[in-house]
C-alpha cells in the first residue's frame, strides 16, 4: 500500500471543519452561521449565510444570492424561505 493514510469514505477530510451530527436536527443547529446552499423543489437555489432554521424547515438567510438554472438572477439582503418549498440545505 503506497498510500499510508487510508481514508474511509465516511470520515470527514482533514481540511474541512468537522460536522458531527447524530441526527438532522443536530446538523441544522450546527451549521447556523455558515454559508449554505438551499435548493427548492422548483429547482431555484439560494446561497447565503444561514441565520436560523425551525422544525418546519423554514429558513432565514442573510446576504442571499438566487440562482436559476445555475445563473445568478437576484440578490437579497435578508430572506425568509417557507419550509415546504425546501428540497435540501447544504453547507458550502
Amino acid at each position: 500500500m503506497s498510500n499510508g493514510t487510508a481514508e474511509s469514505p465516511f470520515s470527514p477530510s482533514a481540511e474541512k471543519s468537522e460536522i458531527l451530527s447524530n441526527n438532522p436536527s443536530a446538523f441544522l443547529s450546527q451549521i447556523t452561521g455558515a454559508k449554505v446552499a438551499v435548493k427548492l423543489n422548483s429547482g431555484v437555489e439560494y446561497r447565503g449565510d444561514l441565520q436560523c432554521v425551525d422544525g418546519y424547515m423554514n429558513i432565514a438567510l442573510e446576504q442571499t444570492e438566487e440562482y436559476v438554472d445555475g445563473v445568478l438572477k437576484n440578490q437579497y439582503g435578508d430572506v425568509f424561505i417557507r419550509g415546504n418549498n425546501v428540497l435540501y440545505i447544504s453547507s458550502i
Binding site: 422548483s42 441565520q51 436560523c52 425551525d54 442571499t64 430572506v79 425568509f80 417557507r82 418549498n85
Partner: protein
C-alpha cells in the same frame, strides 16, 4: 446577570425564521409566490402558515413560454390583499429595482 432573560424581551432578536418576518411588519416587503408571481406591498399581518395581509400591493405575474423566455408580465394593483400561506415561497425586505 442572566442575559438570556433580556433576550426574551428584546424584540429585535431573531431566534426563529418567522422572527425575520416579524421584523418586517409595517414595512414594505417583497414576496415570491408559486406560479411565477411576485408581490410588493406593506406587510400588516402574518401567521405561522405565512398567510399575509398586505396593503398598497403591486402583483407581477410572469407569463413563461416553455420556461425559456418570459413572454410578458402582467401587473396588478390592490389596496388590500390577503395571501394564503401555502402559495408563499419567500419573503424579503424589498430590493428597490
Amino acid at each position: 446577570m442572566a442575559d438570556t432573560g433580556a433576550d426574551q424581551l428584546d424584540d429585535t432578536i431573531v431566534s426563529e425564521p418567522l422572527d425575520l418576518v416579524r421584523l418586517s411588519l409595517n414595512e414594505r416587503v417583497f414576496v415570491k409566490l408559486k406560479g411565477d408571481r411576485e408581490i410588493r406591498g406593506r406587510l400588516h399581518a402574518y401567521d405561522s402558515h405565512c398567510n399575509l395581509v398586505l396593503s398598497d400591493v403591486e402583483e407581477t405575474v410572469y407569463i413563461m413560454d416553455d420556461e425559456e423566455v418570459d413572454l410578458k408580465t402582467i401587473k396588478k394593483q390592490s389596496e388590500m390583499l390577503f395571501v394564503r400561506g401555502d402559495a408563499v415561497v419567500l419573503i424579503s425586505p424589498p430590493t428597490q429595482s
